[in-house]
């Protein structure tokens, strides 16, 4: 089989896999972003603020990118990119130290560069890092109390709780993404053992694995450069072609759980396998 033929067989198999189950695309959810949005919405309401936003660090581009915002005044910030370490958000990201700022005198150039691009210059703000044991992944900013009063230590504490929620959501989303990789690889392994499916030799499998690797890497680049761990995990599961029946049963259980989450029944796969 030529490389091209192997690649074509690989893509054909991928397509058939995709047709049989599109859990992957459903799991590539904007769910993480939806949770982030609900976090900033809640922060605005509960902290009685004009606006709130979350910026996440994008390693390939080395930028903090504002992903979601709440409050009428805050929307202009979405999509804005700043250098990590630049301005108050950058400082908080880099130092890991939460802080609140208010009543900055006019001659200070405080955040104006970024703020003016968004059409909204805050009078006061709380900025806290999105941090867990694994490190800092972004910043939550809450801007301007509606009644004009300053933010205090309790606001820093509150914002820290919201930031914690956001961090958990983001970590869960990337875990989900890794699970998608796992699912795809597991499907591949199943298909390769499936007598009714397209036949696949080693080279075709390599090409397929390569295709999935590229796919995963592209996705990782788009989503902010997750570790290669997802791919390594998928690769490991892809090798379950040679796995024991117990291990394959585990893979099927994982598939079932994932498919159930996506609202689909998997009984036919299980039935087809036994």
């Amino acid at each position: 089989m030529t490389d091209d033929a192997a690649g074509a067989a690989a893509l054909a198999l991928l397509r058939s896999v995709a047709q049989r189950v599109d859990v992957a695309s459903q799991l590539e959810s904007p769910a993480g972003e939806t949770i982030l949005r609900s976090v900033v919405d809640a922060a605005v309401v509960l902290m009685r603020a004009e606006a709130a936003s979350i910026a996440l660090y994008d390693p390939p581009r080395d930028r903090l990118v504002f992903r979601v915002a709440a409050g009428e005044q805050g929307q202009g910030v979405v999509g804005l990119e700043i250098r990590p370490g630049d301005g108050v958000a950058g400082y908080v990201f880099a130092s890991g130290e939460p802080l609140a700022i208010g009543e900055t005198t006019v001659d200070s150039r405080f955040e104006r560069g970024a703020a003016e691009q968004t059409g909204y210059v805050p009078r006061s703000l709380v900025a806290v890092p999105l941090t867990d044991d694994a490190g800092t992944i972004g910043v939550l900013e809450v801007l301007d109390r509606r009644d004009g009063s300053p933010f205090d230590l309790a606001d820093i504490e509150a914002a820290t709780v919201f930031a914690r929620q956001a961090t958990v959501a983001i970590r869960a989303t990337s875990l989900e993404r890794e699970t998608v990789g796992l699912l795809r690889a597991a499907l591949l392994a199943l298909a390769a053992r499936d007598d009714e499916g397209p036949a696949l030799d080693e080279r075709a499998l390599d090409a397929l694995v390569g295709a999935i690797a590229t796919d995963l890497d592209d996705r990782q680049a788009e989503d902010g450069g997750e570790s290669r761990g997802a791919w390594r995990l998928a690769d490991a599961v892809a090798r379950t072609r040679t796995a024991s029946p117990d291990q394959m049963a585990l893979v099927l259980d994982i598939l079932e759980a994932l498919a159930h989450r996506a609202g689909r029944a998997t009984s036919r796969y299980r039935a087809g396998r036994r």
Binding site: G90, L99, L153
Partner: protein, 269 residues
């Protein structure tokens, strides 16, 4: 996971809960004996932060040197900096220290900013350089969460302690590791909400042993002034006080400085 709310022991609403109460082993130490009549002259305080605006009126021309850490992969180099502050935070810290110990010389070591956003290796290099320079006090408004750097930070904290250099760090309010702010050799500080730089509390329950003014502090900021809140504005108050104590009692060790800070702390009422 519960959040360590380091300030809770120190703020007005919860300070009376008794967490800070204890028998004072040596009674009160008179503040005049502890640091009366000195202004920090003869000592140097290093500020590891976002840089310090050299010509800011709040610094009183006491900034004698500005450097920054350049990072290239894992290698670092200390190079001269231009005496500017890319955020305002370092100027705020230096301004607070200067307001308490106006005679002390200030050295700025910039590790935060767009070009080297607080990488652990830069922070390590800055700390090592400050210790080598023989400064009396190092004010740290940042900490690293890198487990990989734990041993390096621990070694440097010990090195500072034995070299008689006092490290004062803002407590980090986020969960997980925080180096060197949680090391025993370091003076770790959280904010209280009494608007008085001369009020500080001692908390006998580690790791955050001191609470200082850190709420609605009017500070020097890049190009002006600002009103700010955070542990990183409490730490420089303790840095300034420690500088006075060390000026009054030349040669005292970090643990003696800490003991005097505790013995002169306000009662938690």
């Amino acid at each position: 996971m519960t959040m360590p709310a380091w300030s809770e022991a120190f703020i007005s609403a919860t300070r009376g809960s008794g967490r800070l109460s204890r028998e004072r082993p040596f009674g009160h130490l008179d503040r005049a004996e502890a640091f009366g009549g000195v202004d920090g002259t003869g000592l140097t305080v290093a500020v590891i932060d976002s840089g310090v605006e050299a010509n800011h009126p709040a610094i009183g021309d006491r900034l004698v040197r500005s450097v920054r850490v350049e990072v290239d992969g894992d290698s670092t180099e200390i190079v001269g900096d231009d005496g500017s502050d890319v955020v305002g935070h370092g100027t705020a810290a230096a301004g607070i220290i200067h307001s308490i110990a106006p005679g002390a010389e200030l050295v700025s070591i910039r590790v935060l900013g767009p070009d080297n956003r607080g990488k652990g290796v830069a922070f390590l290099a800055a700390l090592e350089w400050a210790i080598q320079q023989g400064v009396s006090v190092v004010n740290l408004s940042l900490s690293s969460k890198s487990e990989a750097l734990y041993a390096d930070f621990h070694a440097l904290a010990d090195q500072a302690y034995f070299a008689n250099v006092l490290l004062v760090s803002a407590a980090n309010n986020v969960p997980g590791p925080s180096y060197p702010s949680l090391f025993a050799a370091v003076v770790s500080v959280a904010a209280h909400d009494i608007r008085d730089p001369w009020v500080w509390f001692y908390n006998p329950a580690p790791p955050v042993e001191f609470g200082a003014y850190g709420v609605d502090v009017n500070v020097a900021w890049r190009g002006g002034r600002s009103v700010v809140t955070g542990n990183s504005f409490a730490a420089p108050h303790i840095s300034g006080l420690a500088t006075l104590i060390r000026a009054k009692h030349p040669g005292i060790s970090p643990f003696e400085t800490k003991a005097i800070l505790a013995a002169t702390a306000n009662d938690p009422t």
